[in-house]
């Protein structure tokens, strides 16, 4: 139990997926203009990463390792993730239309989110078992959601500020992200 707590705190706060590992940067910069859309993206990411880290964990442990084909992990994982996202989209559309309404737009974008593949590979690299891997996936996604929502909140306020012309748009967002990364250094004492 203590080990799982360490994984959660480590992945969600200390080694934040966006601010210290630079994974999932594209949606972080692209979909963080409004708090609601950021929360929607975060929800979709939590859902997909938790599920995909479970599925890739199962496939790695029970198919690739017994067949001695660990070297195929990159190809297998990316295909599984792409198929999974499609499947989740179709399933939600049929079974839970209200959830689909909320997350639908963000789901196709997730295949190119490098955090999903990144978490699957980190789980293998750190030799997590399936439970630890799934918990790590969930915690990583929570860390992503936390930072994208904070970012969106800051960007909504930045709109009203007088920013030098050259820094408007992309540059000021990057500087904000840099300052957030410094703030997240504060968590490194937790473990």
């Amino acid at each position: 139990m203590k080990e799982l707590m360490l994984i959660i705190v480590g992945s969600a706060l200390v080694n934040n997926v966006v601010l210290s590992q630079f994974l999932g940067l594209c949606p972080f910069l692209g979909v963080s203009k409004k708090t609601e859309t950021a929360a929607g993206m975060g929800g979709a990411v939590i859902f997909v990463i938790t599920l995909s880290s479970f599925v890739t964990g199962v496939i790695y442990q029970f198919i690739l390792v017994p067949a001695h084909m660990e070297y195929l992990q990159t190809i297998v994982f990316i295909l599984v993730i792409a198929a999974l996202v499609q499947f989740v989209e179709m399933f939600l559309k049929k079974a839970m239309p209200s959830l689909y309404q909320a997350l639908g737009v963000y789901l196709p974008l997730i295949t190119t989110n490098c955090a999903v593949l990144g978490v699957a590979l980190i789980n293998v690299q750190k030799e997590y078992n399936i439970l630890q891997g799934t918990v790590n996936g969930f915690a990583t996604a929570v860390g992503f959601t936390l930072s994208i929502i904070v970012m969106a909140g800051i960007r909504e306020k930045i709109e009203y500020n007088d920013i030098p012309e050259a820094f408007r748009g992309f540059p000021i967002v990057l500087i904000t992200a840099g300052l957030m990364a410094i703030a997240f250094f504060g968590f490194s004492g937790l473990i």
Partner: protein, 238 residues
């Protein structure tokens, strides 16, 4: 210059449509591995190899891949080359393999590669596609090496692993450079890229004021959203 000749493609990738500074693609490796100039070159050349090989193969196969499954097919091609390159690096350049680590398999999801496959290689003959891949790859290599060099110089006073600025030594009473370590850490990556993007904006604004059309093919709007869109188009066909 005539379009689609090898030299035109090389120049296009390196300058006109530079993937990092003009198209703003592939931000994750751009920020993650640029802690030093050497890492930048390593990552850049690895990506170039994958990009050139996958562009060539996709261009050769462009008449055989059905339109509906082209995205999954592209992903399989790219992932295979990434796996090959990963094994070669592990065997022959273990030091670089260790320092790039997780970011080598993540080349698969680099928007530049799928973006070029979709936008160029799937519509053009093999030779220009190969040179398009090499040009784009070299443009990417050049940009991330520059970012890496800036970070390394400010953060450690070094360039390509050589001490350029003599370090201060308080114990010996020697004056010198105090490295700003934060530039090697995560926040420094954001700051350096922000400054470079701001400088680029400044030039664009200047060009706009002089009445020149700042040919800005900002296809991705600073995000991979449009690559994601092309992905979902591919997905919807299934």
């Amino acid at each position: 210059m005539k379009a689609n000749t090898p030299s035109e493609r090389l120049l296009n990738g390196i300058i006109k449509e530079n993937p990092t500074f003009v198209l703003m693609l592939g931000m994750c490796p751009t920020l993650a591995v640029t802690t030093s100039a050497v890492n930048g070159i390593g990552m850049g050349l690895t990506t170039t190899a994958v990009l050139a090989a996958s562009n060539l193969l996709i261009s050769l196969l462009r008449k055989f891949i059905p339109d509906g499954v082209r995205m999954p097919a592209f992903i399989v091609v790219v992932a295979s080359f990434v796996t090959i390159v990963q094994m070669l690096l592990e065997g022959f350049l273990p030091a670089l393999y260790a320092s790039l680590g997780l970011y080598i398999p993540l080349i698969v999801v680099n928007c530049i590669i799928l973006g070029r496959a979709e936008a160029y290689a799937s519509k053009n003959p093999p030779l220009p596609s190969l040179f398009d891949g090499i040009g784009m790859g070299l443009g990417f290599t050049l940009s991330i090496t520059c970012i890496g060099a800036v970070r390394e110089l400010i953060g450690a006073g070094q360039l390509f692993g050589h001490q350029i600025l003599p370090l201060a030594d308080a114990a010996a009473g020697k004056m010198g450079y105090e490295p700003i370590t934060i530039f090697i850490l995560a926040p420094g990556a954001f700051f350096v890229l922000a400054l470079l993007a701001a400088i680029q904006n400044k030039f664009k604004l200047g060009a706009a004021k002089r009445g020149i059309d700042p040919s800005n093919p900002d296809k991705c709007g600073g995000a991979c959203a449009s690559c994601g869109n092309s992905m979902c188009k591919g997905g919807k066909h299934q």
